[in-house]
């Protein structure tokens, strides 16, 4: 009972908090236009939005809530499969929220002082942040398809406001890329869900998975759904919004975007694809997914190291990491027998990446506004999650071991090798990111006990200790750490990466020449944009041609109408003849009628 209430509260609480400030503004009439001091928007209440979710994730026992009146029949549930997702998502959202209170303090002060524009911008953020959160939580908790899709859509579209918060050119470019790609994703998801759910006539995700497995054209449905969620998860080719949107968003928003929201794509895959179902017959798709995942992982790494903005580098790193996850999900399709074990590893990896990437993003803000900490303490703390991400330490080590172990057992050595190569890339990327952070480090120290540093520190702790507290399905993994003899096999990519990074650094140092060639972040986006422009121009031309033809036709019709009118206007001239010839006409009528009578 309590769990059910908590479940409702989880979703309701962020919405209530969201409505709080506009209601407050509405209470005082004209508050929107009145100059003068404004209420504080980012208060502690605001940051408390994910607390019920956290409580729910920690509450023992499973719960299911069935709402008949909701959409097409709502089923929300918390089970062991959902618990880790909910836990790390809520945690990261909470930390990012707390962090945001510090990060946005300047804007907050400006708004309170009466800067109307800033106030409204900030108000937008305070409205959309809890909304995005609510969408994210709903998507995690929903078992019925409409609620799931609702959560997904709410999260996607509300996050647009977070991306464009800065309200400058880059932000709008990032926002546009984000929105357009997200729309394509939504469209594909909607199409796939409709197709699959319609064929099987089901409304829950579990039934949907079975339905796809049984459906005749299940492979196509799965492919469409995979692509749809792939936009969010940053599959290669569909990832272009990530490096454009992440750097422009406020840092806490980047953290949740990269840490939690792109995981929604993964959650989507896990929710709708018949993973581990040998009857599904999706092996070809699985192989394709693995290949694309690997391409994603490697290409993103190669491209990412050319970037200058640390957040862009980190965004590419997210693409790369998600590529690795994609490949792992692909094994669930191509080798269903492996999936039960693999799913645990995937969850662990995803949570690890989410938390660690969150901590890294938060760290970018920290390096810009360093707290009063000595550099020897500050920089190792900044480096720690990076090393963890490469898989050399802490949660990274544990998660890497988890999936390698499974892959070795399944006999996928080649895949492991490729993944290791990707890990080399990851090492290079984080090195590059840290290097850029170092180069762009700030000097104005902020107090250590502010919300920002504290949230960051807590994030590092939580990220590194992840395997210890994450309740992966069936309880915490017995022994998350690899046996020591496996360590070299796990460590070598990091070593190689470090060596390469040092070589790069050294080369840069000795040539003393700036690497001038730089690739625009967003890579394929520009290609897409150009193609779209071409297509648009072509369409426009075609439309104009059709329009011209239409207007010609219309002109001709109008002319014909005018002619017809003129002709009709001329008709009365015959009237005179009728008048003059009335008697002969009468006789004529009589003769005609006689003829008629005669003929019958």
């Amino acid at each position: 009972m309590t769990a059910t209430l908590l479940l409702i509260l989880t979703l309701l609480w962020p919405l209530l908090l969201m409505l709080r400030s506009p209601l407050r503004v509405l209470m005082e009439q004209d508050a929107l236009w009145r100059p003068g001091p404004r209420p504080k928007l980012l208060d502690a209440w605001w940051a408390s939005a994910p607390l019920p979710a956290l409580a729910l994730a920690l509450w023992p026992g499973e719960t299911t809530l069935v709402l008949d009146g909701w959409l097409l029949g709502g089923v929300w549930q918390l089970d062991e499969a959902r618990r880790p997702w909910l836990l790390f998502s809520a945690l990261l959202w909470g930390l990012a929220g707390v962090y945001a209170r510090g990060y946005l303090v300047a804007e907050q002060q400006a708004a309170e002082a009466g800067d109307g524009g800033t106030f409204l911008r900030l108000a937008g953020l305070t409205l959309l942040w809890p909304l995005t959160l609510a969408g994210n939580l709903l998507l995690l908790l929903a078992e019925d398809i409409p609620s799931f899709y609702l959560g997904f859509a709410v999260m996607t579209f509300a996050a647009y406001g977070l991306v464009v918060h800065a309200d400058n050119r880059d932000a709008h470019l990032g926002g546009r890329a984000y929105l357009i790609m997200a729309l394509f994703g939504e469209a594909l998801i909607l199409g796939g869900l409709l197709w699959a759910a319609g064929s099987a006539d089901v409304l829950t995700l579990a039934a949907l998975r079975d339905g796809i497995a049984e459906a005749e054209q299940g492979a196509w449905m799965a492919a469409i759904l995979w692509l749809g969620f792939g936009v969010k998860a940053g599959v290669v080719g569909l990832h272009v919004w990530l490096p454009l949107a992440h750097p422009v968003a406020p840092t806490p928003a980047s953290a949740v975007l990269s840490g939690v929201m792109i995981k929604a794509g993964l959650v989507g895959w896990l929710s709708v694809l018949p993973l581990g179902d040998p009857a599904a017959g999706l092996e070809p798709l699985g192989r394709l997914v693995i290949a694309l995942g690997l391409v994603s992982a490697l290409a993103a790494a190669l491209f990412g190291i050319t970037q200058r903005h640390p957040k862009a580098v980190l965004a590419y790193s997210s693409v790369s990491q998600m590529g690795m996850l994609t490949a792992l999900v692909g094994t669930g399709l191509s080798d269903p027998a492996l999936w039960p074990a693999m799913s645990v590893a995937v969850v662990l990896f995803a949570a690890h990446h989410g938390m660690t990437k969150g901590a890294l993003f938060l760290g970018v803000g920290i390096s810009e506004h360093p707290p009063r900490l000595p550099a020897w303490l500050l920089w190792p703390l900044l480096i720690l999650p990076a090393v963890s991400l490469t898989g050399a330490l802490a949660s990274g080590l544990a998660s890497k071991w988890a999936f390698k172990n499974v892959l070795y057992e399944g006999g996928h050595e080649t895949l492991v090798t490729w993944l290791s190569l990707a890990a080399v890339g990851t090492t290079l990327l984080v090195a590059r990111a840290l290097w850029r952070q170092w180069r762009e480090r700030g000097h104005h120290a902020i107090p250590l006990l502010g919300t920002m540093p504290l949230a960051w520190l807590f994030a590092i702790v939580a990220a590194t200790s992840l395997p210890l507290w994450l309740p992966v399905a069936g309880g915490v993994v017995d022994s998350p750490w690899p046996p020591p003899d496996e360590l070299p096999g796990l460590m070598w990519p990091v070593g190689v990466g470090l060596v390469l990074a040092c070589v790069g650094l050294w080369l840069a140092a000795i040539t003393r020449r700036r690497i001038t060639w730089r690739l625009m972040s967003g890579d394929l986006w520009w290609l897409y944009a150009m193609l779209a422009r071409r297509l648009g121009a072509g369409l426009q031309e075609g439309a104009e041609r059709i329009g011209a033809r239409g207007s010609r036709l219309r002109g001709r019709l109008v002319a014909a109408e005018r002619e017809g009118m003129a002709w009709i206007d001329g008709l009365p001239r015959y009237e005179r003849r009728f008048r003059q010839l009335a008697v002969p006409l009468m006789i004529g009528v009589a003769v005609l009628l006689l003829l008629g009578f005669w003929l019958g």
Binding site: R576, A582, V583, P584, I587, A590, V591
Partner: protein, 223 residues
């Protein structure tokens, strides 16, 4: 002799009608019309319809004639001098082509009538009257279509009407004479009323536009 006695009352109206319709001077045409009506009355008397003869004299000749003269602007009170000399002169614009063209429908009508009459038993009393009636109808209609002058059209109408009356009365049998007479009397009254109305109208039109040249009655093309 008897055939002549038969034919003469039948042909005389036709001759007179031709004169009435084609006379170049209106005054003379009107006068001739009175004469025409009188001969028709004679025909009625010859056929044995005394009542009709009387009515024709009264309505057809006297009253209609009076109204026609009134239309010309001649009233008994003011003597015989026409108010407008132009009324006396109305040259009939006889263009042969027009005349012939207007003859076509009239001929068609007469053909129709002839066909219808052919299927009836021949008139026992006076076949000549029947044919003269037929000719009068044709003549009147032809003139009606041809002329544009209002008074001439009135004349043409009256002649057509008379032709129809003659035709009608040669068609009725013994039993239906009363019905026939009823129809003819109604027709006569209507013709008189129509003529009267027309005559008044002509006068009124004349009075309304006195300045127009030529005088509206003569120049008016009511078609």
């Amino acid at each position: 002799m008897s055939s002549l006695f038969d034919v003469l009352p039948a042909t005389l109206p036709v001759l007179l009608a031709v004169l009435v319709l084609l006379d170049r001077r209106l005054l003379r045409a009107c006068s001739l019309f009175v004469l025409f009506a009188l001969t028709v009355a004679l025909t009625w008397w010859r056929l044995g319809f005394i009542w009709l003869a009387l009515l024709e004299t009264l309505l057809g000749a006297v009253l209609t004639g009076a109204f026609l003269f009134h239309a010309l602007g001649i009233s008994p009170a003011r003597g015989a001098s026409p108010a407008r000399p132009s009324h006396g002169q109305d040259p009939v614009p006889l263009i042969w082509r027009r005349t012939l063209i207007h003859l076509i429908p009239v001929l068609a009508l007469m053909g129709m009538l002839a066909a219808a009459l052919a299927s009836l038993p021949a008139s026992d009393s006076s076949p000549a009257v029947r044919w003269s009636g037929l000719v009068l109808v044709g003549l009147g209609l032809w003139a009606f279509a041809l002329h544009t002058h209002l008074l001439r059209r009135l004349l043409a109408f009256n002649i057509t009407g008379t032709g129809i009356f003659l035709l009608l009365m040669t068609l009725v049998g013994e039993t239906t004479t009363a019905a026939g007479q009823g129809l003819v009397i109604t027709g006569l009254a209507v013709a008189l009323l129509g003529t009267a109305l027309g005559a008044l109208l002509i006068r009124r039109l004349d009075a309304l536009a006195p300045s127009q040249q030529p005088s509206p009655v003569n120049g008016r093309q009511v078609s």
